[in-house]
């Protein structure tokens, strides 16, 4: 069976690269099975497992938290997000960055308040982290 080059990359690392017989992923508009000779396609992918079938039938499964898939005549590229991108989580992250900036500005002179603010921030961050983990499960 013929094969096609498949690359799975994220902003932080290269996850997979190699010749495959088929790539199975969940696109924003439904399940996709990509074999060599697929027409050129660009679409988003939903968070979930992506299965690649290597030469000889061996299967490999990667869990991606969303991103994009690009199909070219000679290669399939999956651009993976590093984290699940729910709108509210993004918003919470933005809120956190804003807060950090404000606190830094308010506490420029007093170190005591700053350490307290930092402790609070750590707690908020931990809560956010847990929330994210729970969502992933």
């Amino acid at each position: 069976m013929s094969t096609i080059l498949c690359n799975i990359v994220s902003a932080e690392s290269e996850i997979f690269s190699g010749q495959v017989e088929m790539v199975v992923a969940t696109g924003t508009l439904g399940e996709l099975g990509i074999t060599p000779g697929h027409s050129q396609l660009l679409t988003g992918i939903k968070a979930g497992p992506v299965k690649v079938i290597l030469e000889g039938g061996e299967e490999k499964v990667f869990f991606l938290s969303g991103g994009f898939i690009e199909v070219q005549p000679d290669a399939v590229t999956l651009l993976s997000d590093v984290a699940e991108r729910a709108e509210d989580i993004d918003e919470a992250e933005a809120e956190r960055a804003r807060e950090l900036a404000e606190r830094a500005r308010d506490n420029a002179s007093s170190d005591v308040d700053f350490s307290k603010a930092k402790a609070e921030l750590a707690e908020v961050a931990a809560r956010l982290q847990t929330l994210r983990k729970m969502r992933k499960k």
Partner: protein
Amino acid sequence: MANTKEIRKQISSISNTQKITSAMEMVASSKMRKTQDRMEMGRPYADRMLSVIGHLANSNPEYKPLYMTERETKNIGIIVVSSDKGLCGGLNINLFRSLVGFLKEQADQGIGQQFCSVGTKAKVFFNSYGGNVVAAAEKLGDVPALEDLIGSIKILLEKFEAGEIDKVYLASNKFENTMTQQPEIKQLLPLLAEDTPELKHRWDYIYEPDAKELLDGLMQRYIESLVYQAVIENIACEQAAKMIAMKNATENAGTLIDELQLIYNNARQAAITQELSEIVGGAAAL
């Protein structure tokens, strides 16, 4: 005799310091290599994305995305990437110096400025410099996660979309090699579309759901990955600068010890000679 004892104490304290600096040098050099690898790992993602964006922009000339539209500049946003820790030579200072020059230039043209500080040193800098810091991220560690940056970037992107800022710049250190790190201020938004004819392929993609939506999503991620790359590169710079700074410190400690050792030997010899001449003098008196 008290003199020799004092010198000996000084020598031992300096050699302790030397041990610390040489250990820090080794740690920095191993970390630097790892960060350089990490820099390489993220590159295919950004390259791939840029080529897809280029392709999309070229095959959809009728759609001009907001992120690519130039407009009159009244306000700018600047993401300043610094290190979290010190002891890395003039790395941060050089960056801030070129930043201050750039800001003055902009201020002379009457352009408003908003900042996003990444890293503890940038935060401290803005505490003394002033300026409107709208977002901050710090304590990213040696292996920063993109997630920690998304929030800060989002604030600037939102402001850009709302028209509160018209340009976004990124100020960070560029890793030339181990010996040189160059401060660099480059434009992030609007994206400078390169009209390379090679990108105009004969074929086009099938888009699901449609090109515009995909293009916007891709561009947001592309910008995030650019900032992430800059943060990683800055860490590589930090480690390289730290390595050099610690190497110099170790060498300086070495010369200091050599000098002190010489003085110590002189003092010891003088004491022995004095003692001898006293004994000889005493014997002669008998």
